[in-house]
């Protein structure tokens, strides 16, 4: 890619840092995101109430988290379970809540989608990318969403077209745009390489 070129729609993720001003904190993490949560608690134990929901499948930060998080820790075994817990607790939350998310990009935007339905805007969420650079792609031809694409070109789960994975990101869909790579010359594909491990 051209040096210095940068699509503004591509999200920039940061390391989680507590907001000093808040009335409550909500931390949502998945797998390696558990380490990001531990780093948060290394900064300090906030004065305000904290709720942590952690989904783990291949990592085990839960043991340490149980020691570090004073109360309000909920450990679940999958992203789906986490989203269900999230939907259950959100109705009691009020303005002044600060939200922190750490996990894969797919996880971050699944959480953002749920939060949006409760009035929390994407821009208000602090996000840390962990685990993988795998991308969710949106097929601009058939509108299907395909998850966990780790290569420059991925196959659409809807129409089976081979899609070039762009940097152009939709916050609304939580996905990168995918364009048919061999539209001009069917079957002629550049080399497929893993670039989002």
């Amino acid at each position: 890619m051209e040096r210095g070129y940068w699509i503004k729609s591509k999200p920039v993720y940061n390391a989680l840092v507590w907001h000093e001003k808040a009335t409550a904190h909500l931390v949502l993490a998945q797998n390696q995101g558990g380490l990001a949560v531990l780093k948060l608690f290394q900064q300090m134990q906030p004065q305000q109430p904290v709720t942590v929901i952690y989904a783990q499948h291949d990592t085990d930060y839960a043991k340490t988290l149980k020691k570090v998080v004073p109360d309000g820790l909920d450990v679940v075994s999958s992203e789906q379970e986490l989203l269900v817990s999230l939907k259950n607790i959100m109705p009691s939350m009020r303005m002044g809540l600060r939200v922190y998310v750490a996990g894969s990009e797919g996880f971050i935007w699944s959480v953002a989608e749920v939060l949006k339905t409760f009035g929390v805007e994407e821009a208000d969420i602090m996000k840390e990318l962990t685990d993988t650079l795998a991308r969710t792609i949106y097929c601009v031809h058939c509108k299907a969403i395909t998850h966990n694409i780790t290569t420059n070109i991925g196959k659409c789960s809807g129409c089976a077209r081979m899609l070039f994975v762009r940097d152009h990101f939709s916050r609304h869909l939580g996905a990168y745009m995918g364009l048919m790579i061999d539209a001009e010359s069917p079957g002629e594909l550049p080399e497929i390489e893993e670039i989002y491990p």
Binding site: K21, A22, T23, A24, R94, M95, G96, L97, D124
Partner: protein
């Protein structure tokens, strides 16, 4: 800048200090559409000197036959509001800018809390029309000095019903910002317009409670303060201009025949920003646009409301 030729269709004394002006197009055609929270800049000629003051549009954005503004008489100012009160009469032609919105509603908001102090009610008058049309959840908190100063309180009671909460200083009823902002549903936005102390208190309270910055909105037009006279040099135009005590830098630049960009003329929008090439004294920043570090750097200045002290100020214009 393209201006709209209007004439004054009606003037109404709303409170002892506030007059309501109705403008229609001079040629009888419709006025441009606008959105709730917009303002226009009104040009008035006082003894050969052009004053341009921003005023919020108060009418419904649905109506494009007339624009409505309200002007509070400011005794210790440079005369713009006094002229509007004493010299502007029905039928008089005036020039205004196209509407501009620096205080629009957050369309994604779930609930809107509008906080007005005194004449700060004006931008909310048009926003309320939008909120009602959208069927939005909102509350209007309106504080004023005494019953006779509650411009539009009766009209608002009529249109807003239970959404309106009034606080009257003389009745010792006060708005408790802390209580109001500590128990609001997620997705709430707060908007404030009024005296400086009220705006600052609202911003501080919301921030301290952890409200995200993009949920907090304010508008506060400043009038150019009166100050010591000073001189400026415009590098590209190659002229030296004297800025008198009662004139703003922007007005002095315009009076010298140099074209400068502007929109709000109240230190809010940032459009008139100029690069400072050289200065030997202090810049007296009065705007709400530049950040504190930009102000400290002495590299930029907003000529609509800011002034300078010293012998030499060279601007890139």
């Amino acid at each position: 800048m393209t201006m709209i030729n209007v004439k004054v269709a009606a003037i109404e004394q709303v409170t002892p200090l506030v007059k309501h002006f109705t403008f229609v197009k001079e040629d009888g055609s419709s006025l441009p559409a606008f959105s709730g929270g917009s303002h226009v800049v009104v040009s008035i000629d006082i003894g050969g000197r052009v004053h341009r003051n921003p005023y919020s549009l108060m009418g419904s954005p649905m109506e494009n036959e007339a624009y409505h503004i309200s002007v509070r008489r400011q005794e210790n100012s440079r005369g713009g509001s006094v002229f509007m009160h004493e010299n502007v009469t029905v039928g008089m032609p005036l020039k205004i800018t196209y509407p501009m919105n620096l205080f629009s509603l957050a369309k994604k908001g779930r609930k809107h809390i509008l906080i007005a102090g005194g004449i700060g009610i004006t931008p909310f008058m048009s926003q309320i029309a939008d909120l009602k049309r959208m069927g939005a959840n909102y509350e209007l908190h309106y504080a004023f000095r005494s019953p006779e100063h509650g411009a539009f309180a009766a009209q608002l009671k009529e249109s807003c019903g239970d959404h309106l909460h009034c606080y009257i200083d003389s009745n010792a009823t006060r708005l408790d910002l802390q209580a109001l902002l500590s128990d609001q549903p997620l997705g709430t936005h707060v908007y404030v317009c009024g005296p400086s102390a009220m705006v600052v208190a609202t911003l501080e309270t919301a921030r301290n409670l952890g409200w995200p910055e993009n949920h907090i909105h304010s508008e506060q037009f400043l009038s150019p303060p009166i100050g010591e006279p000073f001189k400026i040099q415009l590098a590209r135009s190659n002229v030296e201009i004297q800025v008198s005590a009662e004139m703003s830098m922007l007005e002095a630049i315009e009076a010298a025949g140099v074209e400068a960009d502007f929109l709000c003329r109240g230190g809010v929008c940032g459009r008139c920003e100029l690069d400072v090439l050289e200065t030997d004294g202090a810049l007296l920043h009065n705007d709400h646009f530049l950040t504190d570090s930009e102000k400290a750097s002495c590299k930029k200045i907003m000529p609509c409301v800011s002034r300078a002290k010293g012998e030499r100020l060279v601007l890139d214009l």
